[in-house]
Point group: D2
Chain length 249, copies 4
């Protein structure tokens, strides 16, 4: 069976500007996410970052990507609209997309959702507890308990400005009291999208074993299972209509 | 009971450039749509067109609009992005939106759907027959038969590049054989959106009694029933958290 | 405007068998729910209970009901299947249904959902905090804060065995840590269904002002807005087909 | 990779009572469906029929089934409720289900949908044309054209009394004019359900190459991808709550 080709996209800004982030993620957050995936031989993994030409997302890279993961925060506005459109086109054709944490406000996620994708937030070293809504779902395969915990996380709380998901897989609860739809699946075009809330840059969340497991599961779940749908707006000639059309004039 | 305030937005281009369209719609397509709504005392109706300052959609107009109907075709690209964003913000806050025919490719619809909104098409004076999927739905109230016909219409066919609707209300079939999800409801943010396929500019479709009835019904259906949701991304101070947060360091 | 005719259905068992419940609800839980609705002149309210002939849900009562609320727990199995089928038929035709608390395991709710409707639970006088996912939704109209609290409630926790809702309106969190989709809207046939989790019999929850407000809002939201859909499986004669059918043999 | 274990369930009544059906399907409709699947080495196929003990669906068979296909028509009422409940339990746990043609009125489908599953119909040797709504969907993999035709089929028409599907994959159109949501995916519990309309007993529809292809694709699509979810209604002891619960009395 051929491997699932994942491109891990990282904004790669905090890692250089915030010493703490650089310490937790010496290879960048993207490097840590990539290493987690590479524990599973099912995956081929590439890295792409904002500072690369075309943000690392050339036509060739995108054509050869089955699943893209997206972490961004400080520089959403620096992502070129043309690149966003290319990624979006590929998702609608069938490429999987995993949007991580502050990626809720990325151009690519907002553009695919059509809504504000807003939420409320707080940075206070809160423990998060994430509950599973469907214990049999492929994305939570291997998690034996009804919930798992992240010792410290930024709070993300409802209302979360998303369209109703196709599948609500996880709901998070934060020490300060707030709740959040922390794991949601959406279908758009021929692509599957998974939004996963954990991952504030100042905590070692992508080193967390359960988070790593979920990313592996999710990459398999959103990987293309059909064929590519290159849709357009074709004019269908009258002579190609399956039924004859009567002249009206 | 206070009236539902509808703003009928029209591109108002074909009416001036294509004599046939001007003949069918001497007051513009928007004028005809507005007149249809005004048959029902439930509505207050304003008109706004592309050529007006701010396309007729000033902040004040939008604030005082409960439902907006949108017909555009030739000049989607001339609609200012800033105005589109304002309309979108209002829809997400709770304003109803009715997208008509070629409006499937308008910036506002594509932006709210997050998908291509593509379809296949053919101009061949085809009879369309529109079947009703839920005869009890408010949008088809008053239609006694299982389908209705439009004598000549542009063909719009599947695949239609939309997310799965919240409600599939009607499916159209065209003389040449194609089928299309001709009436679909979507929920986005706090707003309801109804896409309705009939309405090619060269046919007198907005004079059609059943089409007029559906537009009245739909305007009532998508009108705001809740309150305004002005969402944002508020930071919630630690001292406002309902539960105490323990210091971790 | 004519009134919305609500039938409040109550199992009416705990009230007689558990002194505490009788004390909290001297007129029965159904009586308290009915009184709450009657604070709003929009409603006409009837009561029906398990011990009445046909559980109070005669054909005549059902025909004259716009919205039914359902509270049951100890005696789900004593509800006659034929009555359940009648209620179900009416919901599919367009009658609104509000399912309360332990009604998650009622025949009517399970039958409409098609799933187990299971959940996990604990009786420990826990404080519940209910967060709102769409502050503009008609069902939460008038609630100004992002959450409200119920001082003591039975815990209901995920996984909740429901199909994905059409709208997730509220998420509850319990003192012991669990979370739950506490307010969900479903569309089935031509009817709207609202599941609302609060309401354990040993606490005065239907006296709670916010709970009362939500029940009023919900009854308006699920009330029929269209017409009745009496569906069946009609054979359509060949001569009634809109298009001629060619003889194949 | 282990094989997908499919159980093809057939009512096996028409085959014996209608000579024409026996001629088209000498091994039974189930035999033809099974043979089609067996063209693909991905599948292990078992047959089960109404007349077998426990309708061929013993606990052991169900435990060892990944996907069940269901064709029934004349004898829906003869299917034992207890067996239906077992099949339903397995679907909610994660087993895939493909419901064929007149199976729309089977106990298992109606019970999982929660709606009437009604439709209108006509037997008149009509050509059906089935259009594809998402050309990239795994279920239509290998179909190169925008539609395919079945020379003669019973007409099934809207309104189809189903909940809104998770994915509308195909829409059928019949010679006499009616349209129908002919291919729909639903998610219930941890299981995927595909309803596929073609398959009237008096036509050789399960010999049709495209129909056979779709059944193979669909069996792969609805096959379990996660783990089994054996849900229940566990009481969670106070001492197992992740957070301490304060005594209120």
């Amino acid at each position: 069976m051929s491997k699932i080709r994942v491109t891990v996209w990282g904004e790669n800004v905090h890692e250089h500007e915030m010493p703490k982030v650089g310490e937790i993620y010496p290879k960048g957050m993207h490097g840590c996410i990539a290493d987690g995936l590479l524990e599973d031989p099912a995956f081929d993994v590439k890295i792409a970052t904002l500072d690369m030409p075309e943000h690392g997302l050339t036509d060739e890279v995108l054509e050869e990507t089955d699943v893209i993961t997206w972490w961004g925060h400080a520089a959403h506005h620096k992502v070129d609209d043309e690149i966003v459109n290319k990624v979006k086109r590929r998702v609608l054709e069938g490429m999987g997309l995993i949007v991580l944490h502050s990626g809720h406000y990325s151009k690519i996620f907002r553009s695919l959702m059509g809504t504000t994708c807003s939420l409320c937030w707080r940075e206070a070293d809160e423990r998060e507890r994430i509950w599973i809504c469907n214990p049999g779902h492929p994305i939570v395969k291997g998690i034996e308990s009804p919930y798992f915990e992240i010792p410290m996380e930024e709070m993300y709380g409802e209302p979360f400005g998303i369209p109703e998901p196709s599948e609500t897989v996880m709901i998070g609860h934060f020490e300060g009291g707030n709740v959040f739809r922390s794991g949601c699946v959406f279908l758009r075009g021929n692509g599957r999208i998974f939004y996963f809330q954990p991952g504030h840059e100042t905590y070692p969340i992508y080193h967390h074993e359960t988070v790593k497991l979920i990313l592996k599961n999710a990459a398999k779940y959103v990987a293309p299972h059909g064929t590519i749908w290159k849709d357009g707006a074709p004019m269908i000639p009258v002579e190609s209509a399956p039924d004859p059309i009567s002249a009206k004039h």
